[in-house]
């Protein structure tokens, strides 16, 4: 089974479309201003239903990191071992994505984009020191 090249839920379509364009998008509540993790129907902070999609800057901090040695399917076996991370974007939303192998918890990272079997994906790499 190949990963679907189209969003599975209409709710997340702006996010997937953003990946194709090389932009990280997240939902923000137009009421309280809170950022949403994943795609939702209502604000996780205040419950309002007025959510808008915003473009994120692509910068964040690594909160969790693993190296997947045992890929779940033939589709991902050629990539293994690969690093997956949870990143807290500077805007406040959290994201699961790929990462360069040298990335660790607490690192400041920057998003890049790649495609695997037609699926647009994010790979975080260490942010160049200023």
């Amino acid at each position: 089974m190949h990963p679907s090249p189209t969003p599975v839920s209409r709710l997340a379509a702006p996010y997937i479309e953003g990946l194709r364009q090389g932009v990280l998008r997240y939902q923000q509540c137009t009421g309280c201003g809170g950022a949403q993790t994943l795609a939702r129907y209502a604000c996780q902070h205040c419950g309002a239903t007025t959510l808008a999609w915003r473009d994120a800057g692509g910068l964040g901090t690594v909160q969790a990191a693993t190296v997947v040695a045992r890929a779940p399917s033939d589709d991902f076996r050629p990539l293994a071992p690969y690093t997956l991370v949870l990143v807290l974007l500077d805007e406040g939303a959290r994201l699961m994505a790929h990462a360069q192998p040298d990335v660790g918890i607490g690192d400041r990272v920057q998003a890049t984009f790649f495609e695997h079997l037609g699926q647009p994906l994010v790979r975080f790499g260490a942010l160049a020191q200023p």
Partner: protein
Amino acid sequence: MSTLRKAYVKGVGNTAFGRHEGRSALDLMAEAAQQALASAQLERGDMDGVLCGYATTLPHLMLSTLFCERFALRPRYAHSLQLGGASGAAMLMLARELVRSGRCRNVLVVAGENRLSGQSRDSSIQTLAQVGDADFEVPNGASVPAYYGLMASQYMHRTGVTEEDLAEFAVLMRSHAQHHPDAHLRSPIALQDVLASKPIAKPLKLLDCCPISDGAMALVVSADASTEGAVVMTGAGQAHRHQHLTAMEDILQCGAAQAAGDAFAEAGLRLQDVAYLGIYDSFTITLAMLLEEIGFAPRAGAAARARAGDFSPTGALPLNTHGGLLSFGHCGVAGGMAHAVEAWRQMTQQAGARQVPPPPHAFIHADGGVMSSHVSLLLSREA
């Protein structure tokens, strides 16, 4: 209704866990259910409620009544329930409510699955991975071990838990499973074996992960006590704070303590009243996090209690004496029911070679998803 009835666990049954080549989910469920009826000393006609789990190898719109027809039951209340690994504990909580309210007198809670032999390992792993978010998580090539590996990395970073600490629980569960003839994995392992086992999703290695098994479990929840000993369901609680790992807001408060707090409050008991633990252990990190968040060990202190022997059959707080998911095995919903089945056997002195001093109170906890859904139960022996 002015007063609620008491709800007792009246009987239990199980198949061995492991490989049951050629046997279907229903075959396995029937074996466990037949044993549970015998254990409860009840006839088919006594069962007025049936709750069953789900089977990934047998997706069916009406699994509970499919099972009832095959097993020759005609209950007045039936359905299946889906809450991942927490399904079993959630069914027991619901069975308790059905009995307490007077809706049912005897509820059969049953689940089983040929998860190991009924499909390819890849198929099983992919089915399970779908517990992740379909747009944000799964497309990364994530898997259940990857979600737990990510979670473990963050928990270890925050608390100081080490890979050696986690390995301690794999060794402990295997040492317990050695004494259960129905356990899937019984060959002894040492700490070094766990640490040297092949990497799956860092920091988790093969022996940090539960196996995929075939098997089934069943319990009868009743308004009447067992003649082997009265085990009352004295408290229960649930918490559901997120579905996906990405959406978990606080790794130190994932919902386990909230569910446990409700259960203890309802039972009027404290942590120190409990003398037996049945805690969900899909991965070694699961067990460490649950023990520490609920408060049976300080943060990063669960492994020290294991090393001190506290969680052993001879210790102060025997834990999963059947071997847990890590070694007794995991066949889905039934895997999470095994903890309650073993607790009941210990409380009614039917644990054979594994028997510990019968605990007056036992605490059961299960989680579904990625620490997403939490169900806690308290069982108490009546004098």
